[in-house]
């Protein structure tokens, strides 16, 4: 047991570069597999959380743009959503990485007053930024389509009441359309969030290299499967971690769902049930 604590301190943060440098090679214990794969989950959570956070706002913009009657707003949003929803994420990673590699190596100094940061185009070829951008665009497109569908499903009476009460422009959107849109979209959006977490497992199988063997959960799982030639231990461990994560997401999104449905009479409130038709992105 004490050796497992030792493993935890050696490999607990290995995926972000702290602790033991060399990965276990021989006599791999169950504890090592659990710890290292768990450490890799840091990357999965990092990618998915940031992509979802930024993607949420961009998706709203895309949905509104796609719903716009102005061709100049409508066409680029449609094209963006189509390109990212219509092609495999796996190919998007490869394509983006190969484009980023071709970029000239430049650095721009940004002065924060207390600290000068050199922003380099080279960062784009690293997973932490390059893959994050691809995931951000991808989830924005999927969520944008979900929000667009919900926007179109906003009951027309709600809009008429808003007009009758003199709501216009941003106020009408903020107070009437947006909350209803979110409420209608929420079950599908929960599903999208779950799939986003699952999609992060693709990152290190594409062009983006895992620098100094700092990879995500499935990177370490496949490392162990290669080393021990036994797939029956590491992959179920990844499965276990992801089931845990999925349950946490459903719990968190369920809380938000309750908040969104608060104003409705109790018999009309929808519980967040992951609808069987919505299962798929």
């Amino acid at each position: 047991m004490s050796s497992c604590f030792q493993t935890l301190s050696d490999y607990g943060l290995r995926s972000i570069g702290y602790g033991e440098r060399l990965l276990p090679k021989a006599d791999i214990t169950l504890c090592e597999q659990f710890v290292l794969i768990g450490s890799g989950m840091i990357w999965n959570i990092y990618f998915a959380m940031l992509a979802l956070l930024f993607g949420f706002f961009f998706a709203t913009v895309l949905a509104l743009g796609k719903n716009s009657k102005l061709f100049l707003l409508n066409a680029p949003c449609r094209a963006f959503i189509f390109i990212f929803r219509g092609s495999p994420l796996f190919i998007q990673f490869f394509f983006a990485y190969d484009l980023f590699v071709l970029l000239p190596r430049l650095g721009v100094d940004i002065d924060f007053g207390f600290l000068v940061v050199t922003v380099e185009t080279r960062w784009l070829t690293k997973a932490w930024l390059g893959a994050l951008i691809v995931l951000f665009f991808n989830t924005s497109a999927y969520a944008g389509e979900i929000f667009y569908g919900a926007l179109r499903a906003v009951p027309s009476q709600d809009l008429e009441s808003a007009d009758a009460f003199g709501f216009t422009g941003i106020k009408k959107f903020r107070r009437i359309i947006w909350p209803t849109m979110l409420r209608l979209a929420w079950p599908s959006y929960t599903n999208e969030a779950i799939f986003m977490f699952h999609a992060t497992t693709l990152v290190f199988f594409t062009g983006f290299p895992a620098w100094q063997q700092k990879g995500d959960a499935i990177y370490y799982a496949s490392y162990f499967a290669d080393k021990t030639f036994n797939p029956f231990v590491p992959y179920p461990i990844v499965g276990f971690y992801f089931i845990l994560l999925t349950l946490i997401i459903i719990g968190l999104f369920g809380l938000i769902n309750r908040q969104l449905n608060k104003h409705l009479p109790t018999n009309e409130r929808k519980r967040l049930k992951i609808n069987k038709y919505n299962l798929i992105r």
Binding site: G86, R152, V154
Partner: protein, 288 residues
């Protein structure tokens, strides 16, 4: 391919390009598009079969069968599909070899798992060491196909079980009132009526099946991703057709290929959803 291609170093412009895109390796690249289409056309019915079995099992009156079916349908929601794509082929491979080892080499007493090695006797190897190249290819492809069938079967099972649940209860009860047996109700009432509810989910499933095909690359199959990487990489002067890093171009071609594949499905779906929102009291309905 063309007669003037014998010495590519002397060629220029379009002549060079026409020779470049018809090399033997490029032919393999084009051929791999058919591999993808083959996978699509085989994986779709296989997934439907798995899904149908799963959905039926999840409705079974036997508790064990029901738990098994529900577990199968539920697992895909929690675990990323890539885990299955990596796990299933190697797990199946080891399972087959283990079984063959037990049957064919029953006289060998040593353990199959020795530390980090998985040792089976030569006769139990799959495919046999003596087998020719194409047997290895077919075997690898079949394992990949089974992985696709299994994963997408779980997706399809969810759609079908949702559709079976959506068939109005009154219909089933009417069947019972007319004295239909449970098999008859299943075959004559439930199945014919569920398709209309399953249609949106299944068309969606078709779209993600298309978008999952490049994962063949992860299974070690020489698919379009493999060839795009191979052909696009920097070719120095030692090669017949030297060129800089063209991978972005090759993956651009793959993007266009997949976009046009999904575009057809998308346009059909859009038409369907416009028809369904006609006359509805929603923003979309008002505009029709």
């Amino acid at each position: 391919m063309f007669s003037y291609c014998t010495d590519p170093k002397t060629l220029e412009g379009l002549m060079w390009l026409s020779c470049y895109v018809t090399t033997a390796k490029h032919m393999s690249f084009y051929y791999s598009f058919f591999v993808v289409m083959g996978l699509l056309s085989l994986a779709a019915p296989l997934a439907m079969a798995f899904g149908f079995a799963g959905a039926t099992a999840a409705r079974s009156s036997l508790k064990i069968v029901r738990a098994f079916g529900k577990g199968y349908l539920a697992m895909i929601r929690g675990i990323p599909d890539i885990v299955f794509f990596l796990f299933i082929p190697i797990a199946l491979d080891q399972a087959f070899e283990y079984l063959r080892h037990k049957v064919l080499c029953s006289d060998v007493t040593e353990a199959v798992r020795q530390g980090n090695d998985f040792v089976v006797c030569a006769a139990a190897k799959l495919p046999l060491n003596t087998a020719s190249e194409w047997v290895h290819d077919i075997y690898g492809f079949s394992l990949a196909l089974l992985a696709f069938g299994f994963v997408f079967g779980a997706f399809a099972g969810n759609v079908l079980s949702g559709a079976m649940g959506a068939v109005p209860k009154a219909q089933i009860e009417t069947g019972e009132a007319y004295g239909f047996s449970s098999t008859q109700i299943f075959k004559r009432i439930l199945i014919p009526q569920m398709w209309i509810y399953a249609l949106p989910g299944l068309s969606n499933l078709w779209m993600i099946l298309i978008k999952a095909t490049p994962l063949l690359f992860l299974l070690g199959i020489e698919d379009i991703v493999y060839w795009a990487k191979e052909l696009g990489g920097i070719k120095t002067g030692v090669y017949e057709y030297p060129h800089p890093d063209w991978r972005a171009w090759y993956f651009g071609v793959l993007m266009i290929f997949y976009l046009s594949l999904t575009y057809l499905s998308q346009s059909v779906l859009d038409k369907l959803s416009t028809r369904l929102s006609k006359g509805q009291a929603t923003m979309a309905g008002k505009e029709v």
